[in-house]
């Protein structure tokens, strides 16, 4: 039971990270490889807010959300928009977003040095619950609730709102979207902002969950995020949610039952297994790109 819960907590963070990844891919058909850097930057920003500004961890999350949104706008403006009309825009965006990620991490290193950073000792609430005999902290519950709430909100936004309709129109046919009068540049920018805001909250939650932030934390989760969206079905929001939870659970069970060095072996082995059975991913049934 304890393993199951731990897997859910970690998995919900993977899912939140991956859903931002897959949103940009689904709408814009672009892989934003600066997303992992947003994850790392926001963890450090979160710690800074608690340590220096003395905020409680609950207040840092909305601020981190906004910071992430701003980073998303920067990423779109710097790494993607200038290249969008090139015939090789896919590849160019991939490379330029990696480059921008490198610059973000370099700034982190300049500001904080190479060492692991932690939240101050008394940052976390001490409340714990017992669920079916397993120990659960208030923080863990909050991580799960916040992640799931954000993902549900995003799904509703995409399905029901005007902005969401615009996103789906661009995902299906950018030219038709322009003809219809949709400001494609603005919707694109907003999509990046939302995607990065979610990735930022994921980063701050991750840092809280393990009480540490490292320069390499984005790189560590990058492959997992990619695995999650491939397993879930590229561009599928429910796929990212289910894929993230699956990966979290698989990792925890591998560590508990086989040994910690087998964690990635099992997790990525699962990726290949699922892709063998369902090459389009769990929720990638349709050929058409979807949000």
């Amino acid at each position: 039971m304890q393993q199951l819960l731990n897997g859910l907590f970690t998995g919900s963070i993977y899912a939140l990270f991956a859903i931002g990844f897959t949103l940009v891919f689904g709408v814009l058909d672009r892989l934003n490889l600066a997303h992992p850097a947003v994850f790392a930057v926001s963890a450090f920003v979160g710690i800074e807010l608690v340590e220096v500004a003395g905020l409680s961890i609950w207040y840092t999350l909305p601020i981190v959300f906004v910071v992430g949104g701003l980073l998303g706008i920067i990423i779109e403006r710097v790494a993607f928009r200038p290249l969008k009309n090139r015939p090789d825009a896919h590849f160019a965006g991939l490379i330029s977003s990696i480059a921008l990620a490198g610059m973000f991490i370099a700034l982190l290193q300049w500001r904080y040095g190479p060492n692991t950073r932690r939240f101050p000792a008394d940052s976390f609430p001490s409340t714990t619950f017992t669920v079916f005999g397993a120990q659960v902290t208030l923080l863990q519950v909050a991580i799960l609730v916040i992640s799931v709430a954000l993902m549900v909100a995003l799904t509703l936004l995409v399905a029901k709102s005007r902005l969401g309709r615009g996103m789906r129109a661009i995902a299906e046919n950018p030219t038709a979207a322009r003809v219809l009068g949709i400001n494609v540049d603005r919707v694109t920018m907003t999509t990046f902002a939302i995607s990065s805001a979610l990735g930022a909250v994921a980063g701050a939650l991750f840092a809280m969950n393990v009480n540490s932030a490292q320069l390499g934390m984005g790189t560590a989760i990058e492959l997992k995020g990619l695995a999650v969206i491939i397993v879930g079905g590229m561009g599928s929001l429910p796929g990212a949610l289910v894929g993230g939870l699956l990966l979290g659970l698989a990792e925890v069970f591998a560590v508990a039952n086989i040994g910690s060095s087998w964690r990635d072996m099992v997790a990525f082995g699962l990726l290949f297994l699922i892709l063998l059975v369902r090459p389009q991913g769990l929720f990638g049934a349709r050929k058409v790109r979807e949000v």
Binding site: G166, A169, A176, V179, L180, G181, I182, V288
Partner: protein, 239 residues
């Protein structure tokens, strides 16, 4: 609107040049549309018709020339802004968003206006769309998709509507239907610019026609005169 504007054409295109790399698709084309009229640009495939429409609606940036809409220079205005100003294109091949519902397609037509009354009017005009409003638009037949494409444009309440090959790929009976709708739109006071390969049909519906060949205007005049002109019929409207 001032007195001088009332007599000016709603759309005026002067010396338009559109090129893709080194290829000049449109080579110095000028034409105009009087407010409330139906004009048509006809010509063979590759004559530059779609490039002209795309330049007017802001999808393609012209290399040279000026485009004036209701007295304002819109040569450099972006596509999404033009829709908000009442200049709307019904693109070639319909460009229906097949994974979105019919209703969502119509809502997107009103991106700028959020005009629910306009959507209701489209449903009254095309009851077949109202019956299936929550189905994916991809489930519609070709003719129904064309009606949706036109309806979607009407949601924006355009004062100028540009139709790019609306009869393409449709059965003759459906083509009749499409032309009936086009004439209704025109009768309601909206100016129509119609692009067609089906030149005879388009000229019969239009007030004024322009015949394009290799990116230039080869003939122009009242549509009835073009239809009666042996040279035009022989060279461009043959078969």
């Amino acid at each position: 609107m001032t007195e001088s504007h009332a007599t000016e054409p709603i759309l005026k295109v002067e010396n338009l040049v559109v090129s893709y790399g080194r290829v000049e698709a449109v080579r110095g084309v000028s034409f105009q549309a009087a407010s409330g009229s139906l004009i048509t640009l006809v010509g063979a495939n590759g004559a530059g018709k779609s490039s002209i429409i795309n330049a007017v609606s802001g999808i393609v940036r012209p290399k040279a020339g000026t485009i004036t809409f209701e007295g304002r220079d819109i040569t450099k205005t972006s596509a999404h802004a033009l829709v908000g100003e009442g200049l709307v294109q019904v693109p070639e091949g319909r460009q229906i968003l097949g994974t979105l519902t019919i209703h969502e397609n119509l809502q997107l037509g009103g991106w700028h206006t959020n005009d629910t009354a306009a959507i209701r009017e489209v449903y009254e005009r095309f009851p077949v769309l109202a019956e299936r409003r929550d189905l994916p638009a991809g489930a519609l037949s070709g003719g129904e998709q064309q009606m949706l494409a036109i309806g979607r444009a009407l949601v924006a309440r355009p004062r100028l509507i540009l139709l790019d090959e609306p009869s393409m790929g449709l059965a003759p009976k459906i083509v009749d239907e499409v032309f009936r709708v086009i004439e209704e739109i025109r009768a309601s006071g909206t100016t129509v610019v119609l692009i067609e390969q089906n030149a005879r049909r388009a000229l019969r519906a239009a007030d004024h026609g322009y015949v394009l060949a290799s990116g230039e205007i080869a003939h122009e005049g009242p549509a009835a005169d073009l239809l009666a002109d042996e040279r035009v019929v022989q060279a461009y409207l043959g078969v």
